[in-house]
């Protein structure tokens, strides 16, 4: 499927942000921000509140036009494309918004079947069958398929939103705080599901999160947003050693230490079991 896209090579990064500037009036959110998402990796994006994590996500997905700089996605610059070409690229994204953003007038099954019908041109019956499997895949009971978003709990909304983001088996998955509001068991299952699907389907993940456990369990690299740019991008162990007050507080505060030791314990367990 990818072979007919000449602009795209398999070793190229899927997202390349260069010199990004975002401003809201006089308030500068990003200044000269560079970031790269490699093919098949899960990149965790962290940062204090108000450092523009969601704004960065929105500028990459094309919901916000950056004030300056370039955003290259899958080898093309979104803002230079016309409507039809853009839609072609955009259907290869899966986005999970912070508050789910499920369509409130459709039930869950229809929510997930919608992109399948519109983009993959499946008949409704097939689309709804696939939708039900995807709902089961993210751990929702079969009865949930006919429920409407307003009657769901926060955790169920998150799962359903993930199922919708995965509907088209996207090349890039954008997740905005996917584990916020999930119980720890659900969050751990989410991390595991994410890694399994990434391994099987080979998509890349842009993951905005505050959840240290997710960073340790699922992310290949971690980018820290601070001082209006990406302060450091590297594997989590190297990032945790960076000399910066915020990073030190974040990774070596009480919660950071707990997540780290939990991760070390679980990976030693896994090794001894094998």
């Amino acid at each position: 499927m990818d072979s007919d896209k000449p602009t795209e090579q398999n070793d190229q990064p899927v997202i390349k942000v260069r010199g990004l500037v975002n401003r809201f009036g006089a308030h500068v959110v990003h200044e000269n921000l560079d970031l790269t998402l490699e093919r098949g990796e899960i990149l965790g994006v962290v940062g204090g509140s108000g450092t523009g994590k969601s704004v960065l996500l929105r500028s990459i997905v094309g919901l916000k036009r950056p004030n300056d700089g370039t955003v290259e996605v899958l080898g093309t610059t979104l803002n230079e494309l016309n409507e039809a070409q853009r839609s072609q690229i955009e259907r290869r994204f899966g986005v999970l918004f912070q508050r789910g953003a499920l369509f409130s007038s459709l039930n869950l099954q229809e929510n997930i079947a919608l992109p399948l019908i519109e983009h993959a041109r499946l008949p409704r019956e097939d689309a709804e069958h696939l939708a039900r499997v995807k709902l089961a895949l993210v751990g929702l009971p079969p009865q949930a398929a006919l429920q409407f978003p307003e009657s769901l709990s926060g955790g169920m909304v998150k799962r359903a939103a993930l199922a919708r983001a995965l509907a088209l088996d996207p090349d890039i998955l954008f997740l905005d705080e996917p584990t916020a509001g999930l119980d720890p068991i659900g969050a751990a299952a989410f991390d595991q599901l994410l890694v399994t699907l990434r391994d099987a389907l080979g998509f890349s993940v842009f993951l905005v999160t505050h959840d240290l456990d997710t960073l340790y369990a699922a992310c290949d690299r971690v980018a820290v947003l601070s001082q209006k740019r990406v302060l450091v991008v590297d594997t989590i162990d190297k990032v945790a050693e960076t000399e910066d007050e915020w990073i030190q507080d974040y990774f070596h505060g009480p919660r950071g230490r707990a997540a780290q030791s939990a991760h070390t314990a679980s990976s030693t367990n896994a090794y001894t079991q094998e």
Partner: protein
């Protein structure tokens, strides 16, 4: 039958190529054609080889699991060791997800039962709507009386802001609309009364109709469309954002904070707008009479003063507070009924406009009867 995705030799079925969402329909058709299943819906008995599959995504994995059955898919490592580890893991995950039956059909009833049920539902809905409206009116009035003697709880800023939005900002549209209707009524009167040589009575026609009915009625209908819908959408958005719950959890009264300022603002705005409507309707009539009937403005005003008693003006204006109260209360109540979804906001906004216009016209008709019997 050979195909791009599936090949069969005796008891061995070989799956090959890209089993992805893009090819989902073709693969499904190929599966049906190759007739690999003994019974529809049951997994195949044939030996299946997955080694030739080049790409696999969730949609393809779902088809494979359906073909070979859940148990065999979960044991994929035992019989398809050549398949890449990632794709094995995907098959196992999908098989786990498909283990429980996924089909849930909503309970279905016969058409007659459905029709009867929906008639019943509507009747019960209508009845409970009226009861809710009466209860809400009671609640608002009770809260109003409690607060009359406690000026500290009067929300003056909010009230003034609502007066600006629903009253002051509506002046141009009310004035324009009544001016044009006034002109139309004058034209109608002129045409009909000309045959009797009584064109001078056009003045009475315009004056009576605008002072008693049209001024206040048009203003009320405009506000029902403009303000009742705004109230419903505002309170509805707050409701779905859990702001109402937040108020209650903090021990604050939503009726006092949200409803009373809106009701008070309407009670002040609508009489003023009705007055504007009356004046501008008369102006519209005066324009037509002076331009096309040779009745000068002076004559118009003199006749107005001589023929039309102030009772008509008072009768018209006395209806304004009633309309205002009904419109505001319906707008707010529908807002409180909103339940989360965007569709629900739309439904209740529509309902609040329809209900308030209906109530305004109903009350106006009853009032017309009453005033006529009283001889006012």
């Amino acid at each position: 039958m050979p195909s791009e995705w599936i090949a069969r030799h005796d008891q061995t079925v070989t799956l090959k190529g890209e089993w992805t969402l893009a090819n989902y329909r073709h693969i499904k058709a190929a599966l049906q054609q190759s007739d690999t299943r003994t019974e529809p819906g049951k997994p195949t008995d044939a030996t299946v080889s997955l080694d030739a599959i080049t790409r696999l995504d969730t949609a393809g994995a779902i088809l494979i699991v359906e073909l070979i059955g859940v148990e065999k898919a979960q044991a994929v490592a035992d019989w398809a060791a050549e398949l890449p580890k990632e794709q094995q893991a995907l098959l196992v995950r999908i098989a786990e997800a498909m283990e429980a039956p996924l089909d849930v059909d909503p309970p279905s009833y016969s058409r007659i039962n459905q029709a009867l049920a929906s008639v019943g539902q509507h009747m019960v809905g209508l009845w409970s709507q009226q009861r809710q409206l009466l209860a809400f009116i009671g609640l608002v009035v009770a809260t109003l009386f409690q607060l009359v003697l406690r000026p500290r709880h009067w929300r003056l800023t909010a009230t003034v802001a609502h007066i600006q939005q629903s009253g002051l900002n509506a002046v141009p549209i009310v004035a324009l609309l009544t001016f044009m209707v006034g002109a139309v009524v004058a034209f109608l009167g002129a045409t009909v009364l000309q045959d009797f040589g009584a064109t001078i009575y056009t003045i009475d026609l315009v004056a009576f109709s605008f002072l008693r009915e049209f001024g206040v009625l048009l203003a009320a209908i405009l506000l029902a469309g403009r303000t009742a819908s705004a109230f419903t959408a505002q309170i509805g958005a707050m409701k779905s954002n859990e702001e109402i719950d937040a108020l209650q959890a903090q021990g604050l009264d939503p009726i006092e904070l949200l409803v009373l300022p809106r009701v008070m603002a309407m009670l002040i705005s609508l009489p003023m707008l009705a007055f504007v409507g009356m004046l501008s309707g008369l102006a519209g009539g005066a324009m037509v009479t002076s331009l096309s009937l040779d009745i000068s403005l002076t004559q118009f005003l003199t006749t107005l003063q001589k023929d039309v008693s102030v009772t008509h003006f008072l009768v018209g204006l006395s209806k304004a507070p009633v309309f205002a109260f009904v419109i505001a209360v319906i707008g707010c109540l529908e807002g409180f009924k909103v339940s989360g979804s965007a569709q629900s906001v739309g439904e209740h906004t529509t309902s609040s406009v329809v209900q308030s216009i209906f109530m305004v016209i109903l009350i106006d008709a009853v009032a017309a009867l009453f005033f006529m019997e009283m001889g006012w």
